[in-house]
């Protein structure tokens, strides 16, 4: 699928060459981040099904979308206001495999919340990831504020915020886009469109074909990008990020992905999607497609791929062992951090 511009007042051209000036080393790093996210995610499901972890919320199928956008950003100065499916995104911003497993198992030293939040609710001031919550859509009203502060100080930082297409039905989706466009703020409004709001399909969520079609209502560019090839996502995201960095304003950036798992470990998608449908998603798995493209471009040898796979396996094992051995929080922690101490 090609990048598709909406009929918005401003449009973003489709990049001519998806590989652009991405170095082979960066391509390998992209693959490694995607593969790390997938491997951590699969490990979390294994642990859940083995009764060792009570809850998993998954990013499987969204990796190329998240990594492609994340690599177009600069985590040293840019901000992410995430949602709960952003595992691959936050890995690039600095969250470590150990942090992820500590979150899964709600251990004391879990850095996002000290075990207060459900798994997947990442946040870190150090890594420029705003603390995230479960209500859907609130982050879209906050991201323009983050970007407004950057603008007030004359900085060229870009703020990305993510949501599923389901969340775009919320009022905060509209309010956030409206604010950012009025003030020409450097916000990348990312919609990870996986066609389902838990069980409710696209046609019951909205009457437009693409979420990005709504961009015209805000006078900002809207693009719809296929989320299966990380290089294509990166090329399109870089245009949107640079637009923000130059002070030219926000972009509504829709990435079409497939959710390879149920909504969460507590969901059973057999009630609302056929197995044939889910199998067809597996056939266009973004990890395989991105890997094939990266290798086709000669960016990664079989040997290098094997090294990455081995390194990731060790990281996931290390993170699992580390988190399982880490102590749970002391009960007294439940009463801390209500107000500044």
């Amino acid at each position: 699928m090609a990048s598709k511009s909406s009929s918005g007042t401003a449009t973003i051209p489709k990049p001519d060459n998806e590989a652009g000036d991405v170095s082979h080393e960066d391509m390998r790093r992209m693959f490694e981040t995607m593969f790390l996210a997938r491997s951590l995610d699969e490990r979390m499901w294994l642990m859940n099904r083995a009764g060792r972890a009570p809850f998993v919320i998954s990013c499987q199928g969204h990796e190329a979308a998240q990594v492609g956008i994340a690599f177009a950003m600069d985590p040293s100065k840019d901000w992410l206001v995430p949602y709960y499916r952003d595992l691959a995104f936050v890995l690039h911003f600095g969250v470590t495999p150990r942090d992820v497993m500590l979150s899964l198992l709600a251990r004391a030293e879990e850095p996002s919340s000290g075990g207060r939040q459900m798994p997947g609710h990442y946040g870190s001031r150090k890594h420029h990831i705003v603390t995230s919550s479960s209500p859907v859509g609130t982050q879209y009203a906050q991201a323009p504020g983050v970007a407004l502060a950057s603008k007030m100080r004359g900085e060229d930082a870009v703020t990305a915020t993510c949501i599923g297409e389901g969340g775009t039905a919320q009022g905060d989706f509209h309010e956030g886009l409206n604010w950012a466009s009025i003030h020409n703020l450097a916000v990348l409004f990312v919609v990870q469109n996986n066609h389902y709001a838990i069980s409710v399909p696209m046609e019951k969520e909205m009457a437009v074909e693409h979420v990005a079609d709504r961009a015209v209502a805000y006078g900002m560019p809207g693009v719809t990008v296929d989320g299966s090839n990380v290089l294509e996502v990166y090329a399109a995201a870089r245009i949107a990020v640079e637009r923000g960095r130059r002070g030219e304003g926000p972009t509504l950036f829709e990435v079409v992905v497939d959710r390879l798992t149920p909504h969460s470990s507590d969901d059973d998608d057999r009630f609302y999607r056929s197995r044939e449908e889910v199998d067809s998603y597996r056939e266009r798995d973004p990890l395989s497609i991105s890997l094939a493209r990266i290798k086709e471009l000669g960016a990664m040898s079989d040997e290098q791929e094997a090294e990455i796979r081995e390194r990731v396996k060790q990281q996931v094992n290390d993170a699992t062992d580390y988190a399982e051995a880490a102590p749970l929080p002391d009960a007294s922690e439940a009463f801390k951090h209500v107000y500044a101490e």
């Binding site: 000290g114 946040g123 705003v130 603390t131 323009p144 956030g176 604010w179 209500v338």
Partner: protein, 328 residues
């Protein structure tokens, strides 16, 4: 020292903090060119410019959402919700986001925002320009809720609120904006959040109140004391969360009688919580029932003058309650 109206004291507090700290900015509906529908922010756009006095779209959720985002990224936003009655679209941002930022991040993030909002009735504002909703917010740990009514307190507490590391709901009784005045220093000072103020000392009964009804309670206490050989202690709570339970309990232990007077709904109101704290902590000192005066069991304040008057409590109602309590 000059005498200033409540509205002037609040404006002065805002102006001084904006002059002193570049991180402080204002956002809300009509706060710029119009200077706010009540004129609290009058003149601030001219002085500080459009980047720091932002006329927002008519959308409360994003007023608070944007304030939260800016606070996360180093600013000290002061958001205005034009009438407290209109705050409901922003409740998700306030209750689920601002109030929980610190807790849910294990202390990594704070949310230093101030939400100013006019509240209260008695100005013919009808159902949607009269509500007193403080109990919605005092129910939520993570928020601070203050309702200073004295102009001196308002300026000083606003400054404390702006520099507080946690989210503060700053309630301004609109009936008092131009009705109450006090000596307010021209220079900067702060009044701490979390401390009640004894506005009348007494030994026979304690009345705990805040907002406009504090005026009614003081008038009732004065009238009663003029007629009877009794002294009534009146406490202006000022800070509703955190609650100054020490001042409340010390007073009740001294007087043995307690009454809470507030404009917000009596049922489920903060008066019930204060009464319960007194009952739990000072039961043995009581020689009468804890009494509560609050809003009646109707959804909101009606418009037509006799209807509005019927909703409101005045000093004569409070005087009658004082007499009932004194009889124990």
């Amino acid at each position: 020292m000059a005498t200033k109206l409540l509205i002037e004291a609040i404006r002065e507090g805002l102006r001084e903090e904006m002059q002193a700290d570049e991180r402080v900015f204002i956002l809300g509906e009509d706060v710029g060119t119009r200077g706010g529908v009540f004129r609290v922010t009058e003149g601030l756009l001219e002085e500080f410019g459009e980047m720091r006095v932002i006329d927002s779209p008519l959308a409360e959720s994003s007023i608070i959402g944007v304030a939260i985002g800016a606070a996360v990224n180093g600013m000290l936003p002061v958001a205005e919700i034009q009438f407290l009655d209109f705050i409901h679209p922003a409740m998700d941002q306030i209750m689920n986001e601002a109030a929980k930022f610190r807790y849910r991040s294990g202390g990594d993030f704070g949310c230093p925002i101030v939400i100013r909002s006019p509240y209260g009735g008695g100005i013919h504002g009808a159902l949607y320009h009269s509500q007193s909703l403080e109990a919605l917010f005092t129910h939520t740990p993570g928020l601070k809720v203050i309702a200073p009514i004295d102009p001196y307190d308002a300026k000083g507490m606003l400054k404390s609120a702006i520099h507080d590391p946690d989210p503060v709901i700053f309630l301004e009784h609109k009936r008092a904006y131009r009705a109450l005045k006090a000596e307010v220093p021209d220079e900067s000072y702060t009044v701490p959040i979390g401390k009640a103020k004894i506005v009348r000392e007494g030994s026979d009964m304690t009345i705990i109140s805040w907002g406009w009804y504090l005026q009614e309670a003081m008038a009732a206490a004065d009238a009663y004391m003029a007629d009877e050989d009794a002294s009534i202690e009146v406490i202006d709570l000022r800070s509703l969360r955190p609650l100054d339970t020490d001042t409340i309990l010390e007073s009740v232990m001294k007087t043995g009688k307690a009454m809470v007077v507030h404009e917000a709904n009596k049922f489920g109101g903060l008066g019930g919580e204060i009464s319960a704290i007194i009952a739990e902590e000072a039961f043995a000192y009581l020689d009468g029932p804890i009494m509560r005066i609050g809003g009646p069991e109707v959804p909101a304040m009606p418009y037509s003058p006799p209807l509005e008057k019927a909703f409101l409590t005045n000093q004569y109602d409070i005087r009658a309650a004082i007499e009932r309590l004194a009889a124990y």
